[in-house]
C-alpha cells in the first residue's frame, strides 16, 4: 500500500505557466488509480494526453485526487472500460420487430370498389388470398393472376401469401391490412412503396413507377 503522496504544488504553482501540463499528468498517472485516470481521460501516452487536456482540467483533477484520495493501491485495478462492456456486438440481437419510424403519410391510396364483410380483417402474419390486376399509370397491364375465362378462374388459385411480413411490396402489405374479406379495392401505390428507383424491367415496370392494382381479398387464414 503506497503511502499517501504529498502535495507538491500550491494552487498558484499549478496554474502558473511555468508548470508544464506534462508534469501534472505524469504525477497523476504515477499516483492515481486506473479508474480515476479513465474517468478523467488521463490514460495513455503523456504526449497525447497533454494535447487533448486543458490546464484547468488538470488542476481540477489534481485537486480532486487529493480530495477523494483515490491513490494507487486503494482500489482493485479493473481492466474493462465501460465502452467495451457496452458494445457487445457478438451477442445476437433478438428478432425485434421494430416498429417503423414515423415516416409521414402512407404512400398509397385505396378506394373501395366492392364492399367486404367489414368484419374479417387480416392481421399481420395471416395468410391471405387475392385476385389482382396490376396496371401502370398509362393503363398497361403488367401483371394479373385472373385467367381469361370464368371457367378457368374456377380452376385456378388466387395468390396466397403471409400479409404484413414484408413478402410483398409495402403498398400491398399496408393496403391489405385495411381490407375485409370479400372486398375489392383499387389501390394506387407510389413508387417508394412499390419498386422504387429500380423498377422491375423484366415485368415491364419502369423506374419510379406508380402502380395501380385492383385487388380482391378472397380469403383469410
Amino acid at each position: 500500500m503506497a503511502a499517501e503522496p504529498s502535495r507538491e504544488w500550491s494552487e498558484e504553482q499549478l496554474r502558473s505557466d511555468d508548470l508544464p501540463k506534462k508534469d501534472i499528468i505524469r504525477f497523476l498517472q504515477d499516483n492515481a488509480t486506473q479508474s480515476f485516470l479513465a474517468e478523467h481521460k488521463l490514460m495513455g501516452n503523456i504526449k497525447n494526453v497533454a494535447k487533448t487536456a486543458k490546464k484547468e482540467g488538470l488542476v481540477l483533477a489534481y485537486n480532486q485526487l487529493f480530495e477523494s484520495k483515490r491513490f494507487k493501491g486503494t482500489e482493485p485495478e479493473k481492466e474493462a472500460t465501460d465502452e467495451v462492456k457496452e458494445v457487445k456486438s457478438d451477442s445476437k440481437p433478438k428478432e425485434s420487430k421494430a416498429e417503423p419510424v414515423d415516416e409521414g403519410p402512407p404512400k398509397y391510396t385505396k378506394s373501395v370498389l366492392k364492399k367486404g364483410d367489414k368484419v374479417n380483417f387480416p392481421k399481420k402474419g395471416d395468410t391471405v388470398s387475392c385476385w389482382y390486376t396490376g396496371t401502370l399509370e398509362d393503363g398497361t397491364v403488367f401483371d394479373t393472376n385472373i385467367p381469361s375465362t370464368a371457367r378457368k378462374k374456377k380452376q385456378s388459385k388466387p395468390l396466397s401469401f403471409k400479409v404484413g411480413t414484408g413478402r410483398v411490396i409495402r403498398g400491398w402489405d399496408e393496403a391489405l391490412l385495411t381490407m375485409s374479406k370479400g372486398e375489392t379495392a383499387k389501390v394506387e401505390i407510389e413508387p417508394e412503396w412499390a419498386y422504387g428507383k429500380k423498377g422491375l424491367p423484366e415485368s415491364k415496370i419502369p423506374p419510379n413507377a406508380k402502380l395501380i392494382f385492383e385487388v380482391e381479398l378472397v380469403s383469410i387464414d
Partner: protein, 591 residues
C-alpha cells in the same frame, strides 16, 4: 439353317393350346429369332411374323426380338433395314404393352455410349405409343420410362458455346427436342384432367413434375443459357428451358410456390425422400436462375413480391451454387446474386438478415471463389459482387459484417479489402449530416481495434500479411490526417496509445526482425555461391519442389537474391508509411 430352326420352333408352338407356352419356348424363339436377324434373314423372318397362323406366338413372344431388331435399326444395315423396320412396327402393334415397355426400356438402358442419341431418338416414339396404350394406369410406367431415358441422356456431354449447341455433335439438343415431343400427350392429359377439376396430387402430374425437376438439373444446370441477341443462332437449350417452364405451368405448379418452397414450408412432405424428389434444391436453383437472370418464364411470375424477400429466398440457391466448383454453377450463382442485389436500394438491407445462416455462408463462399477459383474472370466477378452486397447492407449490418469478416477470415487480401471498406465508411460518416453510431460513435473504436492490429504480434509474417498491413496503415494514417486532434471525432487520438502498443510497436519490432533475417540470408547467399556450386555437383541440394508431377528446376543463386531483395523492398514500403504515421503523432511544441 437358322431359319428352319426357327420355323421348327414356331411350328411346335402352334400346337400349344391357349398360349400355354413354356419358358423354354420363349427362350428358343428368342435365340433363334436373333440368329436369323443377325444372319441377315430378316426378310424371311418378316414373313414368319406376319403369318396369320403365328399370330398368337408373335403376340406372346414377339417382344423378345426387340434387341436384335433395334441393333439393326441403329446400325442402319441397309439390306435388313426395311424388313426389320416392318417387323418392329408390327410387333409394336400386336404385342402386350407391358412387355413391350420392359423390352424397349431394356434397349434404352443397354444402349452403347456412342449410340445413346440414336437409340433415344429411335425409341421415344415407340415408347410413347406403348405407354398411351396403358390407359389410366400409365403414371408409374411413364415415370419409369422418363427416368430411364433421362439417365442415358445425362451421359451426353452438354454443349457450352453457342457454336457447340448448333453443331450438337453428341446429340443432346436433339434428344431434348425429342423428349419434349414425347411428354406432350401426357402433359395434355394432365392439363385436361386438372381442367375438369381433377386431383392436384395425380400420380401422372407428379411424374411430370419429377421429369421437369430432373431436366432442370441435367442438362440445364450444366448448360450455358445466356442469350446473345445479336447472334442468329437458335439456342436450343434455352428453348428447352422455356418449354420445361411451360410444362410446369400446364401442370399447375406455380413458380412462386416452387421457388419459395423451402423458405415457407412448415411441415415436411409425407415421406422424407419425396421432398428431395419433388423439390430438389439444385433444380430449384436452376429455376431461380432461369427466372431472375435469364427472365425465362417471368411473364407468369407475379410482380408483387418485395425485392428483399426475393433475395432472401434466393440466398439458399446462391449458397448452393457458390459452394460448387464447376464454372457452370459458379457463373449462375454469381449472376443470380448480382441480379437479386441490383434490385435493391443501397443501404437498405437490415441487420436482422445477418442472423440467417445463408447471409453469412454466401459471403464465405464468395471469398473462397475470390481467393481459390482458378478461373480469373470468376474471381474478379466474385469480388465485384462481394462489394455490391456490402453496399446494400445498412450501416449496422455493414458494421457487423466487417467485424465478422475480420474475425473469421484467414486471407490477408480479403481483410485488406474489408479494412478499405471500413475506411470508406468512416470517411462517409465524417461528412456533415452522415454521422451514425456505427462508424463514428461508441461502436467505432472496437472495430478500429480489430482493424488496426497485428494478429500474431511481432512474429506476424509481414510478407504474407502485406495486403492487410498496408490497408491498416493507410487507415491509421487517414484517421490521423482527417480527424483533427482537437476534434477527435473518431476517438483515434485518445486511442492512439493503445494502438501504439498493440500495432505500431510490434510492427516496428517485426520489421526490424524480418529485415535483419533477410539481410543475413542475402549475405549468406552471396557468400556461399561458390559453396552451392560445389554442392550441386556433389550430391544435389537438400530439398526439391515438385508440382503436378514435375520437378521444378532449382532456384539459381541469382533468383534467390532477387526474392530476398524484393522482400527487403517490401519492408521498406511498410516502413515508409509507418514513418509517416510516426511523424504525424510526434510531439509538437506545447501550445
Amino acid at each position: 439353317m437358322t431359319l428352319s430352326h426357327l420355323k421348327d420352333i414356331v411350328r411346335r408352338c402352334q400346337a400349344v393350346q391357349d398360349d400355354n407356352f413354356k419358358p423354354e419356348d420363349y427362350e428358343l424363339f428368342q435365340i433363334a429369332g436373333r440368329e436369323v436377324v443377325e444372319q441377315g434373314g430378316s426378310a424371311q423372318l418378316l414373313e414368319v411374323i406376319k403369318d396369320e397362323k403365328n399370330k398368337n406366338i408373335v403376340r406372346a413372344m414377339g417382344w423378345s426380338l426387340l434387341g436384335p431388331l433395334v441393333k439393326v435399326l441403329i446400325e442402319k444395315e441397309e439390306e435388313s433395314l426395311p424388313h426389320c423396320l416392318a417387323i418392329f412396327t408390327h410387333i409394336l402393334e400386336v404385342c402386350s404393352p407391358k412387355e413391350l415397355l420392359v423390352g424397349l426400356l431394356e434397349q434404352v438402358e443397354d444402349a452403347h455410349p456412342d449410340s445413346i442419341t440414336d437409340t433415344v431418338i429411335l425409341l421415344l416414339q415407340p415408347l410413347q405409343k406403348v405407354l398411351l396404350k396403358l390407359g389410366s394406369k400409365k403414371a408409374s410406367s411413364v415415370g419409369m420410362a422418363l427416368a430411364t431415358v433421362l439417365s442415358q441422356v445425362a451421359r451426353l456431354p452438354v454443349p457450352y458455346t453457342a457454336a457447340q449447341e448448333d453443331e450438337d455433335a453428341f446429340g443432346l439438343c436433339r434428344c431434348c427436342a425429342a423428349l419434349l415431343a414425347f411428354v406432350e400427350p401426357f402433359v395434355q392429359e394432365v392439363r385436361l384432367s386438372l381442367g375438369k377439376g381433377g386431383l392436384q396430387d395425380d400420380e401422372l402430374r407428379t411424374e411430370l413434375l419429377k421429369f421437369c425437376m430432373k431436366c432442370l438439373k441435367e442438362p440445364l444446370m450444366e448448360a450455358n443459357l445466356k442469350e446473345d441477341p445479336d447472334s442468329s443462332q437458335k439456342f436450343p437449350l434455352r428453348r428447352f428451358a422455356s418449354e420445361i417452364l411451360l410444362i410446369l405451368s400446364s401442370i399447375r405448379e406455380a413458380l412462386p410456390s416452387l421457388l419459395f418452397h423451402h423458405l415457407l414450408k412448415r411441415k415436411e412432405e409425407p415421406g422424407f425422400l419425396e421432398e428431395d424428389v419433388r423439390y430438389p434444391r439444385e433444380s430449384l436453383a436452376c429455376l431461380a436462375y432461369l427466372l431472375f437472370v435469364e427472365h425465362i418464364g417471368s411473364e407468369s411470375f407475379p410482380a408483387v413480391f418485395s425485392p428483399v424477400f426475393v433475395l432472401q429466398c434466393n440466398m439458399e440457391y446462391i449458397d448452393l451454387l457458390l459452394s460448387r466448383k464447376e464454372e457452370s454453377r459458379l457463373q449462375k450463382g454469381l449472376d443470380l446474386y448480382e441480379k437479386s442485389l441490383v434490385r435493391l436500394e443501397d443501404n437498405s438491407l437490415p441487420v436482422m438478415l445477418l442472423e440467417l445462416k445463408t447471409f453469412l455462408s454466401v459471403p464465405q463462399n464468395l471469398v473462397n471463389v475470390m481467393t481459390l477459383c482458378p478461373i480469373q474472370n470468376l474471381r474478379t466477378r466474385a469480388l465485384s459482387v462481394f462489394q455490391l452486397s456490402i453496399d446494400k447492407f445498412d450501416m449496422e449490418a455493414k458494421y457487423k459484417f466487417f467485424r465478422c469478416m475480420l474475425k473469421t477470415s484467414s486471407h490477408a487480401g480479403v481483410e485488406g479489402y474489408v479494412i478499405k471498406n471500413i475506411r470508406n465508411q468512416i470517411d462517409f460518416a465524417l461528412k456533415p449530416g452522415n454521422g451514425n453510431p456505427w462508424f463514428l460513435g461508441i461502436h467505432l473504436l472496437p472495430l478500429l481495434r480489430l482493424a488496426l492490429s497485428l494478429p500474431q504480434g511481432p512474429e506476424t509474417d509481414l510478407l504474407q500479411g502485406l495486403d492487410r498491413i498496408m490497408e491498416s496503415l493507410n487507415l491509421l494514417r487517414y484517421l490521423l490526417l482527417r480527424d483533427k486532434e482537437s476534434e477527435n471525432e473518431t476517438g483515434i487520438w485518445t486511442e492512439l496509445y493503445r494502438i501504439e502498443d498493440s500495432f505500431m510497436k510490434p510492427l516496428r519490432l517485426g520489421l526490424n526482425m524480418s529485415r535483419a533475417h533477410y539481410e543475413a540470408e542475402l549475405k549468406s547467399v552471396r557468400e556461399s555461391r561458390k559453396l552451392r556450386a560445389r554442392e550441386a555437383k556433389a550430391g544435389g541440394p537438400v530439398c526439391t519442389v515438385t508440382v503436378g508431377g514435375e520437378k521444378l528446376p532449382n532456384m539459381t543463386p541469382e533468383m534467390q537474391l532477387q526474392v530476398l531483395q524484393s522482400a527487403l523492398n517490401t519492408f521498406d514500403m511498410i516502413e515508409i508509411v509507418l514513418a509517416r504515421i510516426e511523424e504525424i503523432t510526434e510531439v509538437k511544441p506545447n501550445v
